[in-house]
Amino acid sequence: MSTSLPLKLRTLAPGLRGFLSSTPFLLLMLFGFVAPLVCVVWFGLMPPRTFEVAQMPTLENYRTIFGQTYFKSILWSLGLAVATVMILLVVCYPLAFAIAKIFKGGGYFVTYAIVTSLFVSENIRLFGWVIGFMKNGVVGGTLARYFEIDIDSLLYNIPVIILGMVYVYLPFMLFPLVLGLKMVPDQVREAAFDLGASRWQVFRKIDLPLSMPGVMIGSLLVFVLSIGAISEAKILGGQKVVTIASDIESEFTYAQNWPLGSALSTLFIALTTIVVFSVLGRFDLEKLLGKKSS
């Protein structure tokens, strides 16, 4: 009995066979990805504070959003994400270079050490920082006990939020950069050096352009993840900064205004998509220009 299905499949036309084979994936994408998105977009067009789906669509929610100060949260999210990407690029590039080109076997140790930290949930790790930075916490307590310096809590400000984001998203920048730098052939670097280039010129003219795919993938990954970040601002930032993600969350929870939350989500998804695709487009264009300019 168990062999009858494959036998039947084999007798079908190749096109139909391919379609049937991809059905599980298509169903998953349809119900796990497309359907929720459609729901969110549609719900965003429903009148505010209702839970009914079969109503006349309205742009009421979008009017509310543009009438209020939600743009502040969007700008905060955007700013925090951009800052995280920039800092991670600067922090990770040298480390990635060391892992890819210098450490040899030691690179695996660093890789495992960083991956191991991912086994612990993000929130628990962030609370670790809270214990470190709170008043009389690990940092404050140590300073008070041994150096008699009294400091207040280091939490609830913007630098500490960025620190948390940089810390949480580091692996997502590091590993694409390592892969990108591993694609730069050693002999090509040596050749540039041999032809008179200084270390800085080798970096500018060889390493950076050839590792650009890694730089782009890492940056986009971190950008998309950190623009939707919510825990860092909440746990480390207190009420200092409200990100768009926490705005959306509160519309769905405290405010019980699902249509407004959906409209915000739709807007946010559209914004992220535009940013990501415009960066991707610019990247390709730049690559072409790099090849054509003389």
Partner: protein, 364 residues
């Protein structure tokens, strides 16, 4: 040619490179003369690549001295040395056009755009790459031979005192390799640059070089012109490295004669006549007798030869104008014979002969 009297441009004296306990290059001393085509040749593991990497500055010698035009350069990094190298992988910059690759060393030096372009067009023309067609082409779209030329043009654009080559032709098919070898020699003659080439193929070295240094296990076995190496290889290693030759295991009991030991079996040695030679003979130690395949011939009954031995013909191979035979003397002793096609034999048993003056006694 006056090359051997030309002043040395690079002097290598007592250079040694050790990695942990392994000595890759062991106390090597030689000179590269100004304007010559010098080749370092050796089998894999002979230390030729390590030696080359020291000459260009990518490795530092453990001891010894490197001098370029009389100046010590041991501690000069590759980007400060007026030398450059064409890599085995060519190491072209894949994100740049042919033009940008060639202009790279000039861009680094800060040469103006117009001058760069003029020079790179000159170089592309010199290397038979039409600039109209190739200047804007991406290097990744070039064929193997074109990439070789781009790599050479880029190296020449650096205007080095010595241009080093790390087996750049090894990945090219045999036919194109022969064309490129001759082109390389031709460019060396026309530019009057000093070339130092590294290869594992003595045949390649012989075609191009003014002088050849043969390396074995980190030491130089012989430095000479290709003609000298062909005429008088210093020892059995050099002779064998040159290609297919017969090296007979002999011991020398007295003047003018030798015992040829044809194998591990208990067969009594064959006594052969040997020429008077520079190799000391009195110690009775093992030597090799070099006989080239073309010096061996099948002798007809009644015909005379200094030495003769009965053989079985095991195999024959066509080499175009010549035929190569593998002949068995004893169970585990095979010789190579090459004769012209006109002298072809179909027999299975024959008598092999050679003249004493066509053989050489070598240290093994």
């Amino acid at each position: 040619m006056l090359l051997s009297t030309a002043p040395p441009i690079m002097e290598v004296s007592g250079v040694t490179k050790r990695f942990d306990r392994f000595t890759a290059v062991d106390d090597v001393t030689f000179e590269i003369h100004d304007g010559e085509f010098f080749t370092l040749v050796g089998p894999s593991g002979s230390g030729k690549t390590t030696l080359l990497r020291m000459l260009v500055g990518m490795e530092k010698p453990s001891s010894g001295e490197l001098r370029l035009r009389g100046k010590r350069i041991n501690d000069l990094s590759p980007n400060k040395r007026p030398t450059c190298m064409v890599f085995q992988s060519l190491a072209l910059f894949p994100h740049m056009t042919v033009g940008q690759n060639v202009e790279f060393p000039m861009t680094i030096r800060g040469v103006s755009g117009g001058d760069r372009r003029t020079r790179s067009w000159e170089l592309l023309n010199l290397l038979h790459l039409n600039p109209e067609q190739y200047y804007r082409k991406n290097v990744t779209q070039c064929s193997g031979g074109e990439r070789q030329r781009v790599a050479l043009a880029r190296a020449l654009a650096y205007d080095p005192d010595i241009l080093f080559f790390d087996e750049p032709l090894s990945a090219i098919d045999a036919q194109l390799r022969k064309v490129l070898q001759k082109e390389l020699k031709d460019i060396q003659r026309r530019t009057k640059k000093t070339f130092c080439y590294v290869t594992h193929s003595l045949e390649e070295a012989m075609v191009m070089s003014d002088r050849v240094a043969i390396l074995r296990k980190g030491s130089i076995e012989q430095i000479a012109t290709p003609d000298e190496i062909y005429a008088s290889p210093k020892n059995a290693f050099v002779a064998e490295f040159m290609g297919e030759v017969n090296l007979l295991s002999i011991t020398i009991p007295g003047d003018g004669v030798a015992h040829w030991h044809t194998g591990r079996n208990a067969m009594p040695p064959i006594t052969v006549k040997i020429p008077a030679s520079a190799v000391p003979v009195e110690d009775g130690a093992a030597r090799k007798l070099l006989i080239r395949p073309e010096s061996l011939r099948f002798i007809a009954p009644g015909e005379a030869a200094d030495n003769s031995v009965p053989v079985r013909i095991l195999n024959e191979f066509s080499l175009g104008s010549r035929i190569q035979y593998h002949v068995g003397v004893a169970a585990d002793c095979t010789l190579i014979v090459e004769r012209l096609r006109e002298e072809r034999t179909t027999a299975t048993e024959a008598v092999l002969g050679w003249d004493t003056r066509d053989s050489q006694v070598l240290e093994s």
